[in-house]
């Protein structure tokens, strides 16, 4: 494939530019420059993907040396009819919906406030951004300490603001609160991401539009809903796309925080998949599971990108 690509790359390069230049021609450079990247991605992404598809039709177990049998679509059938998997899907959906909801709400509000350009706003923006860049596994592990009911900081902050006694509730240990404990940490970590993108959106709105609206005596409220929101919307949708894909894949932060527990109330699909693949060693089954997840992300993302383009063109 790479070879056919190269010749086509060469043919497509404009002859005017390639003419009479000593050394390598443009077409040669184009393909020498692109080929290593494509090769690496074929080797580390596409080849494994094809291998996964192959494995998904077998009963292979990576920890055993037995005869591998073809089982056709049985793995897929079992996954799609397994009620436990639907429970992890529900946990993932809960996590996805609420993290995106809070991050959009708080992120947009922060961006709106920072855009007022108060004194010192660049400094405070940098402070707010810090959690986003840190290692989710290391930070997630430390949050288990912050969440400890007697000695952790989190419960005391809650007590300080609401008056609920700190030792009366347990974020990670309780079935009702655990799904919210992961939403809180993810929101803490990734709200700045949405904020930065919204801020770029707000700054892209030219001042003259507001000036024109002011001359037309549109109220501030009306300006907000008819100028600010529609013009930031494409940016906001982009932020949601990124967060959606990332949180669908979520593993490191949550596995360190709750490990999927208590029971399996916070067992997101990636954690469930890790159990199947690397603890139960049902490699074939897990491969089918991985393919289903990939198709789901890819499908949802493609539909979403179409919607995003439609909003942009409006």
């Amino acid at each position: 494939m790479t070879d056919g690509l190269a010749t086509r790359a060469a043919r497509a390069t404009p002859p005017a530019a390639a003419r009479k230049i000593r050394g390598l021609s443009d077409r040669a450079i184009a393909w020498i420059f692109v080929a290593p990247t494509i090769f690496l991605l074929l080797a580390v992404n596409i080849f494994p993907l094809i291998w996964t598809i192959r494995l998904s039709f077998t009963n292979f177990r990576a920890n055993r040396n037995r005869e591998v049998e073809w089982v056709g679509l049985r793995n897929y059938e079992r996954i799609l009819t397994d009620s436990d998997i639907w429970l992890t899907m529900q946990a993932t959906a809960h996590f996805l919906f609420w993290t995106i909801f809070f991050q959009v709400l708080i992120g947009f509000a922060l961006a709106y406030l920072i855009n007022k350009n108060f004194r010192g706003s660049p400094f405070w923006t940098t402070v707010i951004v810090l959690p986003m860049m840190l290692s989710p596994a290391v930070v997630g592990n430390f949050w288990t300490f912050l969440y400890q009911p007697q000695i952790g900081l989190f419960n005391y902050v809650v007590e300080f603001f609401t008056g609920i006694p700190a030792s009366s509730f347990e974020m990670i240990g309780s079935v009702n609160l655990a799904p919210w404990s992961i939403v809180i940490v993810d929101t803490w970590m990734w709200t700045p991401f949405v904020m930065l993108i919204c801020l770029a959106g707000l700054r892209s709105i030219p001042a003259y539009i507001y000036e024109a609206a002011e001359i037309d005596r549109a109220s501030k409220w009306r300006q907000f809903w008819t100028i600010t929101v529609p013009m930031v919307l494409p940016f906001l949708m982009l932020a949601v796309l990124f967060r959606g894909i990332e949180n669908f894949k979520m593993f490191d932060l949550v596995v360190q925080l709750t490990g999927g527990g208590p029971g399996s109330v916070t067992e997101l699909t990636s954690i469930n998949l890790k159990r199947e693949a690397f603890e139960k060693w049902r490699t074939g089954y897990a491969s089918a599971y991985a393919i289903i997840l990939f198709v789901t992300v890819f499908g949802l993302a493609s539909i979403y990108v179409k919607a995003l383009n439609a909003v942009k063109e409006r």
């Binding site: 690509l5 086509r8 497509a12 450079i29 393909w31 420059f33 692109v34 290593p36 990247t37 690496l40 991605l41 580390v44 992404n45 291998w51 996964t52 990576a62 708080i106 922060l110 406030l113 920072i114 007022k116 350009n117 108060f118 004194r119 405070w124 923006t125 940098t126 951004v129 810090l130 986003m132 860049m133 840190l134 290692s135 989710p136 596994a137 290391v138 592990n141 430390f142 912050l146 005391y156 902050v157 709200t191 991401f193 930065l196 993108i197 770029a200 507001y210 000036e211 894909i245 669908f248 894949k249 593993f251 360190q256 990636s270 998949l273 490699t283 491969s287 599971y289 992300v297 890819f298």
Partner: protein, 312 residues
Amino acid sequence: MSSYSITEPSPRQKWVAGTLVILYAVITILPLVWIIATGFKSPSDAISYPPKIVFEPTLEGYVNLFTTRTRQTEEYLAANPPQTWADEIVRQYDMVIVGPSRYGERFLNSVIIGFGSTFLAVFLGTMAAYAFSRFRVPLKDDLMFFILSTRMMPPIAVAIPIFLMFRSLGLSDTHLGMILLYTAVNISLAVWLMKSFIDGIPREYEEAALIDGYTRFQAFMKVVLPQAATGIASTAIFCLIFAWNEYAFAVLLTSGTAQTAPPFIPTIIGVGGQDWPAVAAGATLFLIPVMVFTILLRKHLLRGITFGAVRK
């Protein structure tokens, strides 16, 4: 512009906005401050009830992080007086230092794998980005999308075949294997980000160089690369941060030799559970470089986190 603008927020609005943002910033930074503070607490201060805000700082967490210790008999302790300040700290528990812990090694692994994969990803990514930016590569949009789509796969899903592949090639738990893997993961970011930077460099510079008799390759080396220096630096920092923070592949594909710090730090245990001051000390040393980088990067942060989609 006149001194009065209808779009400029009033002083009162600015004051309210500033107060709310600072309040949020203080709350959001609290967990990080707590990590740093816990690193300087003694184990009993760290788990005191209620949590201690004022405490007497000690380097016990750092000593525990870097050493392995063992309990000794009183005769032994009396016969061997403490040699260093670190010895003295562990003596209060009737312990002696017997050797270094694995933290140093794991940290070094993070450095080697992080820098190795960053170098490769930026090197390959810059070349590919130049070709995508300047030449009419067939199926360009499809290839760019293909490069990006490799990022959509959950890491655990890719890890299954990579685990098998590494096992048969002997790359499991090796630095080389991890460097290649992180390069492949980072290259999508490197290509997209570098393309956005190179797109911003006017073509006229190279065309002038070509007319002066440079070859295309010389023009790339002597004209484009110097212009793209800032872009290359920020792309490198983003790749480094990713490799530095990565956990899923590291925990599944490494166990000893090539294990990086993120899977290691949560396993630091003391008496009766995690040794929180040592964990916090390890986390502090591990997180500080990234905090510094984030401050250096702040102008290009947005471009980096959106793969160059939003340039500001």
